[in-house]
Amino acid sequence: MKNRKLILLFFIVLLAGFLRFFKISEIPPNLNWDEAAWGYNAYSIGIDGRDEFGKIPITYIKSYGDYKPPVYAYLDVIPVKVFGLNDFGVRFPSALLGTLTVLLTFFLIGEIFPKFEKKEELGIISAFFLAISPWHIMLSRAAFEANVATFLLISGIFLFLKAVNSNKYFLILSSISFALSIYTFNTSRIFAPLMGITLALIFRKKLLKEWKVSLISGVLLILILLPTAKFLVSPEAKIRFNEVNIFSDLSVIDTANQEVINDNNSIVSKVIHNRRYLYSLDFLKHYFDNLNPTFLFIKGDQNPRFSTKDLGEMYLLDLPLVVIGIFFIFKRKEGYYFILPIWILLGIIPAATARETPHALRIETIIPTLQILSAFGFLELITYFKNKKYIPIIFGLILFMSFVYFYHGLVFHYSREYSQEWQYTYKESVAYVESVKNEYDHISFTNFLGRPYIYFLIYEKKDPREFRNQALVTTDIFGFVNVQSFDKFYFSVDPNNPPFSKNNTLFVVDPRYVPGNAKVLKKFSRLDGTVELVAYKL
């Protein structure tokens, strides 16, 4: 019996791995610029321990000026060495940890519901639901640091509960896991402390009883976090936060002032029309955006990097299952069930401070809670319809069809429809330019599609030490980094008028700006056929 469950679990993890690794170099069709940055920085670290611009990354990698937390690059050093600096190598850590998250979810169930008689069934169903989750599959198939953070956060919670349930020394591992997540993805900087403190409060008696281990874990946590605390109060971090947060909209205040005037400046009016309340409302609005059922169950994230947009972040069928699941975890009060709703409620907070909501990536922290709730609902359904087996079977069939619907769209249509989201045009244009590079003195390449330099670095597997010497780098007022040139390459928003002789220069520009006297050499298009770049000479 035990064996049969193990075999089942093995096959689920195998399926998860297949769904995450199969054709990972073609779907999505190309590395987007953030993935490319991870790849090249990992490559660079692998060579001399420094990032592309020569810094030893501890709290961040400067990259495009977005100050990426560095863990993904470190994780990617070995895969890039082993598999090469290519799509597979760059995406490998995300896909691997995504697969392991499925396995971890099974074990997590055992710790959340330690005495639940059906914990193994629940674990298997949860792992299966996560294995086929469109949300998790999409985020595991590209180099998203969020996906690594999710793995670390789940580990942190799993290890914490394991320490509570069985062996106290897991607490030390738990704090390392939480601390690492903070070096992995921005939202973890808010979620990890919130969740960690909440868990500590809930299990305070246990922690006080084992005060030695708690103390060691706490000190270790603080030591690991010290460098990043220094970074978080720096102006760079502030710029980054102001860019995305919701608390900088001033029109709200104008309206409030007018409303006070309309009330003849009464004191009550000043109380009800104050900006703190309005900003809180705005926060709540962005918060609840992430719980919008149309986002979760039918439309998905409107950013096609995170979703095929064919269906929601979850299957429509998950909706009734999640509702039933929520209802029954509260009714059954099994084990530490309350951790799931707390996890969800805290997990959405970081995303709610940003302007673009709902946001599948920033709330990936709540994976796998919804899948567990859905599985709990499914388990209730099976139990309730013990004598009418056909009902769970019908549910299973609908689920299977929904999965096929998602997977069909992903495999056969996604890449073609959204290749521009993955900077696909660089794939062919960079390869072409590299193949003819020796025939020209200069290459003037448009910045129109954004950050082309990184794709040349990756294609050439350029030695970072050489790049640092050749590159001309500027920083704009928003703190974004702009690589203007290196080697023969010149990158500009106006590539037709470079600061050097146009003779013997290869131009690659937006098709709208090809001059009349140009001799067009080659056109490069997205997978849907739209021409995005044109190579010409004069």
Partner: protein, 552 residues
């Protein structure tokens, strides 16, 4: 027993005050639907015909939206009493709103057999922003809602005393004439009741069931016949349906997908990549949009008039008070986990699930107006949550928890009252076709000097003809003789010296002996050297609304 009636009385007083106070002034002006309902009622009162000359219509063609006519008929006595003015037109809705507050008490008590719960639900309805804003405007939907409550009330009563069944059916069948969404909701909810409570129906005396069927058929016969003869009765449904949406939600290039699928000999592609799947997803999307917490508690939507001026901002009001949110969630949980009658639980759940269906097949969602039937069930669930919460909060720390909640509740209420009764008329005039109370008398004074008066028929003066008819109390007999039968959208209207036209005034030649009344934008395109400016009409905040001028 006595005490609960006294409390109910007080609740109804509060509810009446919130619905009747300043009814003719807030909202600031009649919108075009109100003007149309008012003038058609006036026309029915004097001639038994609508503006297009149709005798006793069951749907008003109005702006080609074929409004169910019940509201116009209900307004007739008030227009006879108070004259053709905005107060009289809104009064039917306000009174039905007050009846709803009252009937909610009895309905909730009938379903849950709990007086405390019934009182609290009725109170929540009496102060509900959703219900108040709809009760203060001539909305057919609000009549439909009250009829829902009455028919459900008597339906549950009939399980104890069969004689109430015919009464329930009468209200339900009348509701078919009140509002489009009711035409789907009423059959659906009655079908569910029939299935869930089939045992109870068996116990009802056959003669009452027979009588109910006969009454139901009789009352709905004109509606059924009219639909059979002329499907344009359902035109509004067709026009608003997602099949005619400006652009479907899922904007996929299906043709391209189909091409790829057929190249791949892809069987699944044939199954998945087709129009039907996309429409099905679209319907589900519109349906689910009504279970968005933001919509319910924070943002609302622009079909709730309160949100019109605020639609582009995140501030404003949801359809329910924010403080109700935690109690609503608790109430949902308590209701389904407690020992209420299973059949009643099923009924409440089905009610919640059925309400958004009529809205789901339209494209403009979420829609407060098409889902008004959520009331008062959302309030009943919230009330269950509040009572359950009070039961659980005991001990010395009680006040520490209750005080902030009470303060926030008061905050919510004052905020709403301020938004609606103070701020609304400052921010909203542009959305309420404001200004005809100045434009029409001015035109009347000036028109004796001219042979023709040309009035704009473009935003914000679109459908201006109905506002002139309404404000002039123009004789319906006369109008029916000259009014066109073509409908209204993109059509010019003429009566008396007036013409209401849609023109490009940048190229149009201005006529002599003609008074022009144009909106600010049209005025902008007129060549100022060739005209005499006579008068300007402004919004309360000073923005230009309309200009009177003639040719030099």
């Amino acid at each position: 027993m006595k005490r609960s009636y006294i409390i109910l009385f007080l609740i109804v007083i509060v509810g009446s005050f919130l619905r009747l106070w300043q009814l003719g002034h807030i909202p600031i002006a009649p919108n075009w639907d109100e003007a149309s309902l008012g003038y058609n009622a006036y026309s029915l009162l004097l001639t038994h015909k609508d503006e297009y000359g149709r005798l006793f219509p069951i749907a008003l063609q109005s702006f080609d939206d074929y409004k169910p006519a019940l509201y116009a008929y209900l307004s007739i006595p008030f227009i006879k009493l108070f004259g053709l003015n905005i107060f009289a037109v809104r009064l039917a809705s306000a009174i039905f709103g007050i009846i709803a507050v009252f009937a909610t008490y009895f309905m909730t008590d009938e379903i849950f057999s709990n007086k405390k719960l019934a009182l609290l639900t009725s109170f929540l309805i009496s102060i509900s922003p959703w219900h108040i804003t709809f009760s203060r405007v001539a909305y057919e939907a609000n009549i439909g809602l009250t009829l829902n409550i009455l028919s459900i009330l008597f339906l549950f009563k009939s399980f104890k005393k069969g004689k109430y069944l015919p009464l329930s059916i009468i209200f339900a069948s009348i509701a078919l004439y009140s509002y489009q969404a009711e035409r789907l909701f009423i059959p659906l909810i009655f079908l569910s009741v029939l299935i869930i409570f089939r045992e109870n129906f068996r116990k009802i005396n056959r003669k009452y069931i027979g009588l109910s069927i006969i009454l139901g058929l009789l009352i709905s016969a004109p509606f059924l016949i009219s639909v059979a003869r002329d499907p344009s009765t359902l035109s509004r449904a067709k026009e608003a349906s997602i099949l005619s949406a400006p652009q479907p939600l899922v904007n996929l290039d299906l043709a391209k997908r189909n091409l790829v699928d057929s190249e791949n000999h892809d069987v699944f592609g044939k199954l998945f990549d087709n129009r039907r799947v996309i429409y099905a997803k679209d319907v589900v999307n519109h349906y689910l949009s009504h279970f968005d917490i933001n919509w319910l508690f924070i943002e609302g939507d622009s079909t709730n008039p309160l949100n019109l001026p605020l639609r582009k901002q995140t501030i404003g009001m949801g359809n329910l008070y924010l403080v109700e949110l935690p109690f609503f969630i608790l109430g949902l949980f308590l209701m389904f986990s407690s020992r209420f009658d299973t059949k009643n639980k099923k009924f409440i759940l089905l009610w919640l699930i059925l309400v958004p269906i009529p809205a789901a097949i339209t494209w403009d969602t979420p829609s407060s107006i098409r889902t008004l039937a959520f009331l008062p069930i959302l309030q009943a669930i919230t009330a269950i949550g509040i009572l359950g919460f009070f039961d659980r909060i005991k001990g010395n720390y009680k006040f520490l928890i209750l005080t902030p909640i009470a303060l926030f509740a008061i905050f919510n209420f004052i905020y709403f009252i301020d938004q609606y009764f103070v701020q609304y008329n400052f921010f909203a005039p542009k959305y309420w076709q404001y200004g005809y109370d100045q434009i029409v008398p001015e035109s009347e004074t000036l028109k004796s000097n001219y042979e023709k008066v040309v009035v704009s028929n473009q935003v914000p003066l679109d459908q201006s003809y109905i506002f002139f008819l309404f404000n002039l109390k123009y004789s319906p007999q006369d109008y029916q003789l000259v009014g066109n039968n073509l409908g209204t959208y993109g059509v010019d209207h003429h009566f008396d010296k007036y013409s209401f036209v849609f023109r490009n005034w940048g190229v149009e030649n201005l006529q002599n002996k003609t008074l022009y009344v144009l909106n600010a934008q049209e005025w902008g395109s007129v060549d100022k050297r060739k005209v005499n400016l006579i008068k300007e009409v402004n919004y309360p905040n000073g923005d230009l609304l309309a200009v009177f001028f003639d040719k030099k």
